[in-house]
Amino acid sequence: MSIPITHYLFVSAALFAIGLFGAITRRNAIIILIGIEIMMNAANINLIAFWRYSDGTRLTGQLFTFFGIAIAAAEVAVGLAIVIAVYRVYKSTNVNEVHDMKG
């Protein structure tokens, strides 16, 4: 292919950083979940890029990505459930207010 793999890796790395930045910085719990999703997708891009630039006989990359997507979906479901449970107790989605486990 004419586009070198590093382009895709940079994209993946940039996406990961953006996702990480969002997960670390934002106050809203749902935005943190979105950030985590972005990180997950970045990892998927990484996987697919390596698959695409391999000899293509093995489908390991694709499979790994499918598993990742499925798990991400499950994880989002669980995460949203936790956010709703937390919201019911703390009446807020601001993660900075949930610090009872400090010490």
Binding site: L20, A23, I24, T25, I32, V95, N96, V98, H99, D100, M101, K102, G103
Partner: protein, 676 residues
């Protein structure tokens, strides 16, 4: 065969004493029974030992059985102890056990009402064991150990009724006075040790004992230069130092002052210790060590040491007899009489004859014990009265006591054919031949002895009963039988030293091969006449005197101020009190001040500094160690608190740290790759 068991003779009384020491006060029969049984066995063994010694006696040689064993080993030297059985120790041990046995039996009656009966018999037995050990010991060290032991027992027994202040004082006086003599004795022992190399008397194995011929030969020619006296023979110095012990223990002048006060003890004690045995220990020691005293004498001459001994002895004999004449207490008379007779014994030894001095020791033991026990019987019968001028006419109430007392008096006065005659006469015989002044002093003392004894008999047993406060009664059988037995011996013992019997048996026994002096009819008649004169004078003065019936002493009128001098014992106690004792008290006060001021002060300062140091230590400990430890723990806690601040509870913070961690790990990985 019995020689193997010789050690039992002193050991059995010791064991009895140890056993009795643990008995309760109400086990009276058991205590006296044990003690008497032990002494009886010792008595039998001693008589057997005596028998062996008699049958083994050779013609010119002394039978001597000696054992030694090592006690203290210090490098190459060792201190040896041992036992010896020879005529001297055999006869002494036979006498001591027999007389002790009789006195023990007597004490069961005399001390019957005393609450401390058990303690009394314990001490009596301890004393008897020590005395027997002293006699049988073959080593001067062992002898000194027992010497001090008998002194301690004497202290304990004189002060038996310790609640009486006079008895406690008398016990102290006895012990301290004899201790003063013992200083000289001990120095003599050390000097002898330095010259002879050991302190064993007769060593059968190496013949290097102090009294073996080898050593005597060595000592004979040694001389030493003393500061005041110039050149003196070593043997003289040793002999005189050893004699110091005798001056103390046997109450010679000037250390005689303790014996009359020792009469504070029970009469059995006075009889046993201060008449028959302990005071005789000093005489026995001189008899034992006589080869050293005699060293250097040529042909019946007297050495310097012997002169000193004989002079002190005869002076004591006369001095004490004079004082005895003016005493009112029945036991004091006998006490001074004992001092006087000890003087005789010492004189006899000083004049060179072991047989003479020692025989008088044996006979004196019997009749003096008899007299003391008799006086005890009198005191017991008069319910504690001891002043002769308050007695009188006791012959009717106490016949047995009376006749045995008469026998004792006649023996003491030296009337033919009682034992005292033979023994005293032999001493006077030696004195007659060797030193007329000593003979004269001895004779005057004999006269006074007869006089004061007759005075005593007249005052106590004859005449009218002067005091009506008490009703005298005879003593129980346990007290009378010893009196009878002792009286028998007082009469009959003379025969073994009678020069006309076979050849003086006793003399031959004690010092075979040593020819004694020919008996002199002059001396014998002379002493009999003197004794009878004394008795007669006593009878005339005190037998039928109006003054006596009124309770006054006719001698006071005759002698006047001299009587006061005699009655107050020549003021010797007062002299000692004002000189020696004052010095001792002064020194004691000085030392007390030094102790209080300097030593206690020093100790207080040391204590003060110790306290300061300890409080500083406490502060240091608190501040640095506790403080330091506490602070560091606080710091750790703080650090912990601080570190736990990382856990804010906010998820995003955790996420931040996690991602930071991942980056760091990744960087490490890259760097290691780059380095490769």
């Amino acid at each position: 065969m019995i020689l193997k068991y010789l050690y039992l003779i002193p050991l059995l009384p010791f064991l009895a004493a140890a056993f009795t020491a643990f008995l309760k006060r109400d086990r009276r029969r058991l205590s006296s029974g044990t003690v008497i049984a032990a002494m009886a066995i010792s008595c039998v063994l001693s008589q057997a030992a005596l028998w062996i010694t008699i049958t083994h006696a050779h013609h010119d040689e002394v039978f001597r059985f000696a054992t030694t064993f090592e006690w203290l080993k210090t490098g190459t030297h060792s201190l040896q102890l041992g036992l010896i059985l020879d005529p001297l120790s055999a006869s002494m041990v036979a006498m001591v056990t027999f007389v002790s046995l009789l006195i023990f039996i007597y004490s069961t009656g005399y001390m019957h009402e005393d609450k401390n009966y058990t303690r009394f018999f314990c001490f009596l037995s301890l004393f008897a064991g020590s005395m027997l050990g002293l006699v049988l010991s073959n080593s001067l060290v062992l002898m000194f150990i027992f010497w001090e032991l008998v002194g301690v027992c004497s202290y304990a027994l004189i002060g038996f009724w310790y609640h009486k202040p006079s008895a406690a004082e008398a016990a102290k006086k006895a012990f301290i006075t004899t201790r003063i003599g013992d200083i000289g004795f001990f120095i003599g022992l050390l000097y002898l040790y330095s010259n002879s190399g050991n302190l064993v008397l007769y060593d059968p194995k190496s013949s290097l004992g102090v009294l073996d011929p080898v050593n005597l030969l060595k000592l004979e020619h040694l001389t030493v230069t003393l500061p005041i006296f110039g050149v003196a023979a070593v043997s003289t110095v040793i002999a005189l130092l050893l004699f110091c012990g005798t001056i103390g223990k046997s109450a010679q002048f000037p250390l005689h002052v303790w014996l009359p006060d020792a009469m504070e003890g029970p009469t059995s004690v006075s009889a046993l210790i201060h008449a028959a045995t302990m005071v005789a220990a000093g005489v026995f020691m001189v008899a034992r060590m006589l080869p050293i005293f005699v060293l250097g004498a040529h042909h019946d001459e007297l050495t310097t040491a012997m002169w000193v001994v004989a002079s002190i002895g005869s002076f004591t004999a006369l001095f004490a007899a004079l004082i005895a004449v003016a005493q009112n207490d029945i036991k004091r008379v006998l006490a001074y009489s004992t001092i006087s007779q000890l003087g005789y014994m010492v004189t006899g030894l000083g004049l060179g004859s072991v047989a003479a001095g020692f025989f008088h020791l044996i006979t004196h033991a019997f009749f003096k014990a008899l007299l003391f026990l008799g006086s005890g019987s009198v005191i017991h019968g008069c319910h504690g009265e001891q002043d002769m001028f308050k007695m009188g006419g006791l012959k009717k109430a106490m016949p047995t006591t009376a006749w045995t007392y008469f026998v004792g008096t006649l023996a003491l006065a030296g009337i033919f054919p009682l034992s005292g005659f033979w023994s005293k006469d032999e001493i006077l015989l030696y004195a007659f031949h060797q030193s007329k002044p000593i003979y004269i002093m001895g004779s005057i003392a004999a006269f006074l002895t007869a006089f004061y004894m007759c005075r005593q008999i007249m005052l106590v047993f004859f005449g009218k009963q002067r005091s009506h406060e008490f009703h005298p009664h005879e003593s129980p059988a346990s007290m009378l039988w010893p009196l009878r037995i002792l009286a028998f011996f007082a009469v009959s013992l003379g025969i073994i030293s009678c020069p006309y019997f076979k050849e003086n048996l006793f003399h031959h026994f004690i010092s075979p091969g040593h020819h004694g002096l020919e008996p002199s009819m002059t001396v014998m008649i002379g002493s009999t006449v003197i004794a009878l004169t004394g008795l007669l004078l006593g009878f005339l003065m005190y037998g039928r005197s109006r003054l006596v019936n009124e309770g006054k002493d006719p001698l006071k009128l005759v002698l006047g101020p001299i009587y006061t001098l005699l009655e107050n014992k020549f003021y010797f106690d007062e002299l000692y009190q004002n000189t020696v004792l004052r010095l001792a008290n002064f020194l004691a006060a000085v030392f007390r001040i030094i102790d209080q001021f300097f030593i206690d002060g020093f100790l207080n300062i040391v204590g003060f500094f110790t306290l300061r140091l300890s409080s500083f230590n406490q502060w240091f400990d608190n501040f640095f160690i506790n403080g330091g430890f506490d602070k560091s723990c606080e710091k750790i806690l703080e650090t912990g608190k601080t570190v736990s601040g990382i856990q804010t509870g906010k998820i995003q913070d955790y996420l931040r740290f996690t991602s930071l961690g991942i980056v760091v790990i990744y960087l490490f990985y890259i760097i290691t790759l780059i380095i490769q």
